[in-house]
């Protein structure tokens, strides 16, 4: 590994000058510049980011802590973060927390040790606050953690309202809402949206809870529908549950969308590949990640944007599990 002093020696200047050249800080004469450039080429020199990091106490690494990259919601998010990081010259470390406080804490510490420039955090742990110890720039993604921390989320309530209104417009009157785990603020907001939209004449509502998981949701919904065959519309707080609902309906011989309509939430790819394809409230996942990354980088590069929070509108994507045409 060739170092800055090798370059300096070959170029017959001092390391200081080379450093200045490298960072475009301070002056460096024309001939110095020349010889430095050729020396660098000659030696195939690549500066050590580690040494630079030690000296400046900064780095170009961003930590991304998410529950699980296998969860279909996160690959696109991660990709957006990585793309944006790449664009601004940063690099991202991927951490899967499994919603596990211990693991999360571990990563937080590990990232701190590495002088990472900042952290993007997707966590449900509102009350816990290990993240308060870290002095680094943080952005909360998808799930707010504290009013102090800049946050990027989807407008969940609005999305849920969109879905429910649509379900009703399509003729559903007996609505079942599949909420997510109680700990998810996002799920709560979706349920609220559902409730305000369904508070109408002639609309019956039920709410049950399920994990955001195909199989678990399928079982729960299967049992529920067996005992409540009059349900004719489902708003699921996640596409995973929506697909579970679809399967449950299939097993029960309930035709979708003829006998029962379904609207999901998230906009993950699978929704489009399932049969019938899923009508859903799509979060703008890519934009979510991109915005979070940009917000973080802004912070890293100086600005102190406390309290800045961004809420992104989701979009209703009408596919085959609803039958709007009948009512238009």
């Amino acid at each position: 590994m060739t170092t800055i002093s090798d370059v300096a020696r070959l170029a017959e200047v001092s390391v200081a000058t080379v450093s200045r050249y490298l960072n475009e800080s301070g002056y460096v004469g024309a001939k110095s510049r020349q010889s430095i450039e050729t020396a660098i080429k000659e030696l195939n020199y690549v500066p050590s980011e580690v040494a630079r990091s030690l000296s400046t106490k900064q780095s170009d690494i961003i930590g991304l802590i998410i529950p699980d990259i296998k969860n279909p919601f996160f690959p696109e998010l991660a990709r957006a973060v990585e793309d944006t990081a790449f664009e601004y010259g940063y690099t991202v470390i991927l951490c899967n927390s499994d919603e596990n406080p211990t693991k999360e804490k571990h990563y937080l510490q590990k990232l701190t040790k590495k002088y990472v420039a900042g952290i993007i955090l997707t966590t449900i742990l509102e009350q816990e606050s290990h993240w308060k110890d870290v002095k680094l720039p943080i952005v909360a993604l998808d799930r707010p953690i504290d009013s102090d921390v800049p946050t990027v989320t989807t407008n969940n309530q609005k999305g849920a309202k969109l879905a429910t209104d649509f379900l009703i417009a399509c003729g559903a009157t007996n609505l079942l809402c599949i909420s997510g785990p109680e700990a998810f603020v996002s799920s709560q907001s979706r349920v609220e949206g559902f409730q305000t939209a369904s508070r109408k004449k002639n609309i019956t509502t039920h709410i049950i809870e399920s994990a955001y998981d195909f199989d678990i949701a399928e079982k729960i919904i299967y049992d529920y529908l067996k005992n409540n065959p009059s349900v004719d519309g489902i708003f699921a707080c996640s596409d995973a549950s929506a697909i579970g609902a679809l399967k449950a309906a299939h097993r029960l011989g309930i035709r979708v969308p003829e006998d029962m309509q379904i609207v999901g939430f998230d906009g993950i790819q699978v929704g489009n590949v399932v049969t019938p394809s899923l009508t859903t409230v799509a979060q703008n996942i890519y934009q979510l990640g991109q915005t979070a990354a940009k917000l973080l980088i802004k912070q890293i590069e100086g600005q102190k944007l406390t309290n800045e929070s961004i809420c992104i509108d989701p979009e209703l994507i009408i596919r085959e599990t609803t039958r709007k045409e009948r009512f238009e």
Copy 2:
């Protein structure tokens, strides 16, 4: 940020002793140990990995270069790598190359600058060899890059043979193979497996190529099937193409599996959620990632295992796009 000398001062020992304590290298007396421990607690000291890295020229960061985390094959792979890294105390930097040589080269260099401990690489660029410049430990994943480099792959040929044999056993006689891009060695192997298995009496075969992409595959296959309605069995070299085939068949009014059977390759989650669910040759994706990570870490921690390559057997998962029962 508190440093090792803060600890030394408070514990009234030298930094060397603290360092020894930290790394469990060399001796450190009982009372020294005591005071150091309390000092560390007291100060909430966390060693700087950057400084350590500079000093030792090592790090605990692993670079993972994949084409695109959004591609449904990679999240599980990434997760496996990350889990294994975590287990051994490493951390992973995620890089999406988009199969783009320039981007790939960029990442390779960037990772080198960071003194990463090693790199796991999924690339198709056999002939290109920017990776030869990097002296770091490397493991090729999913796609071999050179006989010098330890490689972890699925036994593609065997898997393809498995699929094709099964298709024939299920009564298909007019077989269409959807290959992947020519540049993928893995795809080539699968096609070979298909060919050796279908070289039998009374079996007709066709081979067409498609990108590993739902929509592209759907179009290509739709066109092909329209002109070749006698095809009664499809072996797709990826689940993505298989699902494309499913959709194409659906649009053409071809019933699956009654009129035509389909077997995919990969074993990604969507295959199980599509209707009818996809019979496929499932790669052991998690094991693939895990093995690669372990191999890399072995290398990092001393061993020079050149030429060590591991080939993992895939498994046929029988679901609803085939109709074995008729022939058992």
